[in-house]
């Protein structure tokens, strides 16, 4: 899962090869390794393909409603009356009780950071100009530890690196109503709740 150049000989550590058998009984092991340059210099033949694989995923009963409420600037959850859990993201079934969930419950757009990380890279592996905090945020009004994944802004990166954001109270920052489209990105990010530290 690492970046390709994790396998390259970089300056800060030393790659050492010593001959040794996988099994004492096996004398040879197979495989023809290539270098990145082999591709660039045309030393190896290749063929290319970009698949045509497009989808329209149906959100279904629970998530369609969730998206509709996001457009209204609200977060909605489902409650199971058997175990009493209020679940977000919402689902029509309770995975613990294996029964249908019973009712819709609006929860707050505030919450508490359960865990977080600080991304210095983009989804495509490029370096970000400015590091970005992403967090699991347990939503107020839902059951304990019912978190959602989102971004957090307005926090000090050095404090974040020092582990100071655990338990921090945050609040959703919404797009203006006219720009919302019924998507998780209708919440732009979460920011620290004012008046709390």
């Amino acid at each position: 899962m690492g970046r390709s150049n994790a396998s390259r000989n970089s300056n800060n550590y030393e790659i050492i090869k010593e001959g040794e058998k996988v099994s004492e009984k096996i004398k040879e092991y197979p495989g023809h390794a290539l270098k990145a340059e082999d591709f660039k210099e045309g030393k190896v033949l290749t063929t290319k393909w970009r698949p045509n694989a497009k989808y329209a995923w149906s959100a279904g009963i629970a998530v369609s409603r969730f998206l509709k409420e996001l457009k209204n600037g609200k977060i909605i959850a489902r409650k199971c009356n058997k175990c009493g859990r209020i679940m977000v993201p919402p689902r029509m079934f309770c995975e613990w009780c294996f029964k249908p969930t019973d009712e819709w419950v609006y929860v707050k757009d505030t919450g508490r950071i359960v865990t977080y990380s600080i991304s210095y890279i983009s989804a495509e592996r490029g370096r970000l100009e400015k590091p970005m905090v992403v967090a699991v945020i347990a939503i107020d009004g839902a059951s304990e530890n019912m978190g959602i994944l989102h971004k957090v802004e307005g926090v000090d990166i050095e404090e974040a690196k020092a582990g100071k954001l655990f338990g921090m109270r945050v609040k959703a920052v919404w797009k203006p109503p006219e720009e919302r489209e019924g998507a998780i990105t209708d919440i732009m990010y979460f920011k620290p709740l004012e008046g709390e530290g």
Partner: protein
């Protein structure tokens, strides 16, 4: 009901693990499978059925990848199936192979793990952008490392673990890999090297993680009757366990891998193991990230919650320690062609239990364990083997 049939591993093989290989996926499968058969003194004719494991089709760039690979896997006109539990697949394939033989339907089974991640451009990372819920998560454009960083951070926070203690795992495993001829990134590094390496997603740095790899690995399984005919030193599969946790990972406590615990308990029960740290002589624990080795040791009941770093610091998990972990060099040192990486661990336990591991050999290894992990921090797969 009791399990009546015992299943043995009688041969193992693997290719080099490298960032880019010339071989097609099916050629890599053939290389590993052929090596496993040769080492068992068997030919393809002797094989009754084939089980293959490989992770996302989006790496190799091949829809229905299991179908594509099958002739290289030796499945021509044989019963064949691909099983799939994300990153947990590598250790799950021999588990599926186990039930093919333990069911009494077959005497021999060829088991293969494969991954060719290099075709995916601009970076194999792309494949990971499609593992998320397309409606609730993909719009946030997540990077895979986000979630592991979230898990690592939670683990550190909950048990008060320091990054330098976690880095010791990377140092150990990359060093162990120096003795593995197939290893992709063996190295002598220090804790400082890890802490000074590029920050990817805090707290994950570059030397905390395993590389992108191409490779394949294979083992040959057979029934007790056949095992006795083909070898004097079979290695028995005495326990299997697997478990999948909820999809809703943001609703779970990430500090502890309960799914690994449940999988391990299932396998320990079957193997009659009551005191894992005492009874397991060597373990190959899934380590795509350094913290995962610690996390998984705890899930496997090899260490108490939050105490795996301490054992590591004390040297207990070194090859000459009381509980050697990842003597192969693990994914951090040998490489991480996902579907093949777990199989590499199973091969390593096989070689360790046969006393064939050369410089990597752990003394007196009689009972070994291999474990893998995958999906959305969700799957545990565990196999227990005895000489």
């Amino acid at each position: 009901m009791l399990i009546k049939k015992r299943v043995a591993v009688v041969g193992a093989g693997m290719t080099l693990f490298r960032r880019r290989m010339l071989e097609t996926g099916r050629e890599m499968c053939w290389e590993a499978a052929k090596m496993a058969l040769d080492s068992a003194g068997l030919t393809l004719k002797d094989i009754d059925c084939v089980v293959l494991g490989t992770a996302p089709d989006a790496f190799d760039g091949q829809h229905m990848k299991g179908e594509y690979l099958l002739d290289g896997a030796g499945a021509w006109r044989k019963p064949y199936v691909r099983v799939y539990v994300g990153g947990g697949t590598g250790v799950f394939v021999p588990i599926a192979g186990w039930w093919h033989v333990a069911s009494g339907l077959f005497d021999t089974c060829l088991v293969i793990g494969e991954e060719k991640m290099s075709p995916c451009h601009p970076h194999p990372q792309y494949a990971f952008s499609t593992i998320w819920d397309p409606i609730l998560t993909r719009p946030l454009e997540p990077n895979l490392i986000w979630i592991f960083a979230l898990e690592m951070h939670r683990y550190m926070h909950k048990y008060g673990i320091k990054k330098e203690d976690i880095a010791l795992v990377a140092v150990k495993n990359k060093r162990n890999a120096l003795d593995h001829p197939c290893a992709q990134i063996p190295a002598k590094i220090t804790v400082e090297d890890v802490l000074n390496s590029e920050v990817l997603v805090w707290p994950v740095q570059r030397l905390d993680i395993s590389p992108v790899s191409d490779g394949a690995a294979a083992v040959v399984l057979c029934s007790e009757d056949v095992a006795k005919k083909v070898t004097d030193s079979p290695v028995w599969i005495d326990g299997v366990g697997w478990c999948l946790d909820s999809t809703y990972w943001t609703n779970r406590e990430l500090a502890y891998p309960k799914y690994v615990e449940y999988a391990a308990r299932m396998a320990y029960k079957m193997a009659g193991i009551h005191n894992p740290p005492k009874e397991i002589d060597v373990a190959e624990v899934y380590d795509p990230f350094d913290y995962k080795e610690l996390h998984h040791m705890e899930g496997l009941q090899l260490a108490r919650k939050g105490e795996a770093p301490k054992l590591t610091k004390e040297g207990v998990t070194q090859r000459d320690g009381d509980l050697p972990i990842n003597p192969s060099g693990g994914l951090l040192g040998v490489g991480n062609p996902i579907g093949a990486a777990g199989m590499m661990k199973v091969c390593e336990i096989f070689w360790q239990l046969r006393g064939e591991a050369g410089k990597r050999q752990v003394p007196d290894a009689r009972t070994g364990l291999a474990q893998a992990w995958g999906d959305l921090m969700q799957v545990g797969t565990v196999i227990i083997m005895r000489s």
